[in-house]
């Protein structure tokens, strides 16, 4: 009995100390991490929707055309009070972990830009998706994400057809294209609804 008590006590105390230490460290680093995330998000927003605009968080549930792609967040883009676009944060299943994307959409029905926020794709293959030195069209220096700029919502977004795939990374290419496609559909419905209601 004595032994059981001793083990309980020691393991409990060690656990408690560990929990306390971690909570303390998290208290210090937590704000830094969230500040960092916010900064990344802000930079991402202005990257997918270049120009001097205001971004505003949007709380709305969207109807999705795809069962595996999810919309985590949405931001409306405002210029002088008027809505000119929508940026969507999309999660699409990648080859190992989900890929988090920011997709900027314009009111005129085109994609303004795409950025990968988080991904765990294979270095040298899938990771080339966010590599700014990797061109899918070498002559025009167009990156994989760059090719989405200006694409219409109504496009098919199928790699090897209207989307140039990354060599040896079909899964990644499909995942990104799929995410953009869903975002496009959502944005299309959103703008239509806005117009309908005035």
């Amino acid at each position: 009995m004595n032994k059981i008590l001793k083990l309980t006590l020691i393991l409990g105390v060690v656990g408690a100390i560990s929990g306390g230490a971690l909570a303390t460290v998290y208290k210090v680093t937590g704000p830094v991490i969230s500040a960092q995330d916010a900064k990344t998000l802000q930079a991402g927003l202005s990257e997918v929707f270049p120009g001097d605009y205001q971004f505003e968080g949007l709380n709305e549930e969207f109807e999705l055309s795809d069962s595996v792609v999810k919309i985590d967040d949405a931001y409306i883009v405002k210029s002088n009070g008027g809505i000119i676009g929508l940026v969507l944060q999309v999660t699409s299943p990648g080859s190992q972990a989900p890929i988090k994307l920011l997709v900027g959409t314009k009111k005129d029905g085109t994609v303004s830009g795409v950025k990968i926020l988080e991904s765990l794709e294979t270095p040298g293959l899938g990771a080339n998706a966010s590599n700014s030195d990797y061109y899918v069209e070498k002559e025009n220096k167009i990156t994989f994400l760059g090719q989405f700029k200006g694409k219409k919502f109504s496009d098919n977004f199928v790699p090897k057809e209207d989307v140039i795939a990354i060599t040896g990374a079909t899964i990644t290419s499909t995942a990104v294209a799929r995410g953009v496609k869903v975002a496009g559909r959502v944005a299309h419905n959103y703008f239509k609804e806005k117009e309908g209601s005035g």
Partner: protein, 201 residues
């Protein structure tokens, strides 16, 4: 001073954690596809190893033998999490690259092995130097492997272009199969030379 140098040197070559002990190889294969990943892994590894060794050495008289392993594991996991949080807060871009492999540190046999074999029996100062030696021994090997893989697989070292842009990289080098193959050649070379040395003796 000489004693400490001997402890450090012991980790660098005579009982190098990868080359001689040949354990904890999961992380070796996993993170050596680029020098950058290998470097961050090295930082996390050294941080966790050194601090865990210190704490365990500090507590060595109190820890009961029956549950020493769970305690070691908790200590190691705690430092791993701290390392994760710190790298996430201050080196976010690299953290993104290897976050899947960070937990490999927790279950790295090298750390548990050193905790048990060295710091559970030695003083704090000795443990620090053992940690330093082991970290250096671990890092030079994984960085070397990573350099080879990155050069042939991507034409760069730590992001700097080494081969001209016209070089078409052998993608396989940064993919899983080459990790095994290079480790195989390395292990073969080691066992071969060690055997030779034994025969000579």
């Amino acid at each position: 001073m000489k004693k400490y140098w001997k402890i450090v040197w012991n980790g660098i070559t005579p009982s190098n954690p990868i080359l001689i002990l040949a354990i904890g190889l999961c992380s070796v294969v996993a993170v050596t596809n680029s020098v950058q990943n290998a470097l961050l892994m090295t930082f996390v590894f050294s941080f966790v190893l050194i601090f865990s060794e210190v704490i365990i050495s500090l507590l060595r008289k109190i820890i009961p033998g029956d549950i020493r392993v769970p305690i070691f594991v908790v200590v190691i996991a705690t430092f791993t999490t701290i390392a994760t949080l710190l790298s996430r807060a201050y080196f976010n871009s690299i953290y993104e690259a290897i976050k899947l492999y960070i937990f490999l540190v927790v279950v790295n046999c090298i750390i548990i092995g050193r905790a048990e074999a060295f710091s559970y029996q030695n003083s704090i100062v000795d443990s620090i130097f053992d940690g330093i030696g082991m970290s250096i021994g671990y890092s030079w090997v994984i960085i070397a492997i990573a350099a080879v893989r990155e050069v042939f697989g991507n034409g760069t070292i730590a992001g700097f272009r080494v081969f001209p842009a016209s070089y078409s990289p052998a993608l396989v080098m940064i993919l899983p199969p080459a990790g095994f193959l290079i480790l195989g050649v390395l292990v073969g070379w080691l066992e071969f030379t060690l055997k030779k040395r034994k025969v000579k003796k």
